[in-house]
C-alpha cells in the first residue's frame, strides 16, 4: 500500500483533514475519502466538467488536481451551495427552468454558473455559453441550462 500524506484544507467552510496517496485526485478524495459524491466523474481527464469545483476562488476540474496539492486551500463543492434553509438562486433557477434531465452533469454546471456569477453578475447569453462550455451535457441541448443561468443572474 502506497504511503499516505496528511492534508488539511477548508471544504465548504469547514476545516477538513484527510489522508491520501499522492496519486489520488481531489475528485477521488472528495468522493472516496470524504463521501462528498456531488462532484461526478464523467471522463477523468478534464473534458466533461462534471467534477467542477471552485478551488481558491477559481473554477477547476477536480479530476486534474492532486489531493496532495490542496493543502491550505479553500474548496467549494455543490454540497456547499445551498443555505441551510433555502436553495441557492442558481439551484432554484435550474429547477424552475427544467434545466436538468438525468442530472449527472448538474453539479458541475451549478459550480460553473456560480463561478461565472461570482465574476460577472450580469452576463449576456454568449458570456454564459462561454463560461459553461467546459461542461458537457448530453440530455438537454443546453437551451434550458443557459436560460436558467440568465434567470438566476436576474434573480440575484
Amino acid at each position: 500500500m502506497a504511503r499516505k500524506t496528511h492534508v488539511q484544507t477548508q471544504i465548504n467552510g469547514d476545516s477538513v483533514e484527510f489522508l491520501c496517496e499522492a496519486r489520488q485526485s481531489l475528485l477521488e478524495v472528495l468522493r472516496d475519502e470524504l463521501q462528498l459524491t456531488g462532484a461526478k466523474e464523467g471522463c477523468n481527464n478534464g473534458n466533461c466538467g462534471a467534477c467542477s469545483v471552485i478551488l481558491d476562488g477559481r473554477l477547476v476540474n477536480s479530476c486534474l488536481v492532486l489531493g496532495v496539492e490542496t493543502g491550505g486551500k479553500v474548496v467549494e463543492t455543490v454540497e456547499g451551495l445551498a443555505a441551510p434553509d433555502r436553495l441557492h438562486p442558481i439551484q432554484d433557477a435550474f429547477l424552475e427552468n427544467a434545466a436538468l434531465q438525468c442530472g449527472i452533469c448538474t453539479p458541475g454546471f451549478l459550480m460553473s454558473a456560480k463561478a461565472l456569477l461570482d465574476n460577472n453578475p450580469n452576463p449576456t447569453e454568449p458570456e454564459v455559453r462561454y463560461w459553461l462550455a467546459g461542461n458537457l451535457c448530453r440530455c438537454t441541448g443546453y437551451d434550458k441550462i443557459v436560460r436558467a443561468v440568465l434567470d438566476a443572474a436576474a434573480a440575484m
Partner: protein, 284 residues
C-alpha cells in the same frame, strides 16, 4: 495511475536537483501530466510540484518595454491580462483557446510550452511574438529564443535538471492575431494554429513573424512567408503568396483530427486571415 513520490520544493535549486534524478517529472498545472499519468503514458517515480517556489508566477513589465511572464502563470491569467490583450493580442487569443475555463485556471503557460506538443495553443503566438525563454538549473541560467526550444514532438533542448522560469516578450508589435482551426468552438485540440505579428509603418509592413502549430514535428516559423511580406503593403496578391509560402513550409501529418492535405490547405487560408487581421489591428 502508478504510485509516485510527491515533492513540493520551495527553491529552484532544490527543484532542479530533484528533477535531475531519473524518472522525475515537473508538475505545473497538471492538465497534461495528470492526464498522462492516468492514461499510463506517463509513469514518473517522482513528481516535483513547482507550486511552492516563489516568483515563478505573474506578468511583469520589463525595462525594455517588453513583458516577462513567469512559467507558473495560469493561462487564464494570460488570457485576461490587459497588458497581454492590448500588446500581445495573439498570445491572449492563444491562451483563450486552451480547453475550458476549468482547464485554463489550472494550466500554466510554462506547462503548455514544456509539454512540447506541436499543437500547443500558445506556442504559435509566442513564436510570432519572438519570445525568449529563460532556463535555470543548478549550473546557472541560460536563455534561448523559443523557436530554438523544440527538437521534436514532446522533445526540447532542456537537459537534466533544467527548468524554464519565464518567457520574455520584446516590446509589442503593431498588431497580432491567432487563429485556431478546430471543430468545436472550445474544448478542442488545434487541427492547426496560425499566429501572425506585424510591425507597420505608414501602411507598409516593416516586419512580419508567423508562427505555425500542428503542421510539423515541432512548432515552426514560416520564414519565407515572413520575408515575402516584409516591406510590402497589404494586397490580396501578397497575402496569397504568403499563404502559399507558409503552406509550403509545412510538413504535416494525417492523423485522427484531419488529413495532411487539409492541414496544408488551412495553413494557406488561415495565414491569409491572420495576417490580414493583424494588419487591421495595427491600423486600429
Amino acid at each position: 495511475m502508478r504510485s509516485f513520490e510527491f515533492f513540493e520544493p520551495t527553491t529552484l535549486a532544490e527543484a532542479s536537483r530533484l528533477f535531475a534524478q531519473e524518472h522525475a517529472q515537473l508538475l505545473a498545472g497538471g492538465t497534461d501530466l495528470v492526464i498522462g499519468m492516468k492514461a499510463l503514458t506517463e509513469t514518473p517515480q517522482s513528481v516535483i510540484s513547482l507550486q511552492k517556489i516563489a516568483g515563478l508566477a505573474g506578468i511583469t513589465t520589463d525595462a525594455d518595454g517588453g513583458v516577462s511572464i513567469g512559467v507558473m502563470t495560469r493561462v487564464r491569467d494570460v488570457e485576461l491580462s490587459e497588458e497581454i490583450r492590448n500588446g500581445y493580442t495573439a498570445l491572449a487569443e492563444g491562451a483563450a483557446e486552451i480547453g475550458s475555463i476549468q482547464i485554463r485556471n489550472l494550466a500554466t503557460l510554462g506547462g503548455n510550452i514544456a509539454h512540447a506538443s506541436p499543437a500547443a495553443d500558445t506556442v504559435a503566438a509566442l513564436l510570432a511574438l519572438d519570445a525568449q525563454v529563460d532556463i535555470a538549473s543548478a549550473d546557472g541560467e541560460r536563455s534561448v529564443p523559443i523557436h530554438a526550444l523544440f527538437t521534436g514532438p514532446g522533445q526540447t533542448i532542456l537537459t537534466a535538471g533544467e527548468i524554464m522560469t519565464r518567457f520574455r516578450l520584446p516590446s509589442p508589435a503593431s498588431g497580432s492575431h491567432y487563429i485556431k482551426h478546430k471543430i468545436r468552438e472550445v474544448m478542442d485540440l488545434a487541427f492547426i494554429g496560425v499566429a501572425a505579428a506585424v510591425d507597420m509603418d505608414n501602411g507598409t509592413i516593416t516586419g512580419a513573424r508567423i508562427g505555425l502549430a500542428a503542421v510539423a514535428p515541432t512548432p515552426i516559423r514560416a520564414t519565407e512567408a515572413e520575408e515575402l511580406l516584409a516591406g510590402k503593403s497589404l494586397t490580396d496578391a501578397i497575402l496569397a503568396e504568403a499563404g502559399e509560402a507558409a503552406a509550403a513550409a509545412c510538413s504535416p501529418i494525417s492523423d485522427l483530427r484531419c488529413s495532411a492535405e487539409h492541414r496544408r490547405e488551412m495553413v494557406d487560408v488561415l495565414t491569409r486571415r491572420t495576417v490580414r487581421e493583424a494588419v487591421a489591428r495595427a491600423h486600429a
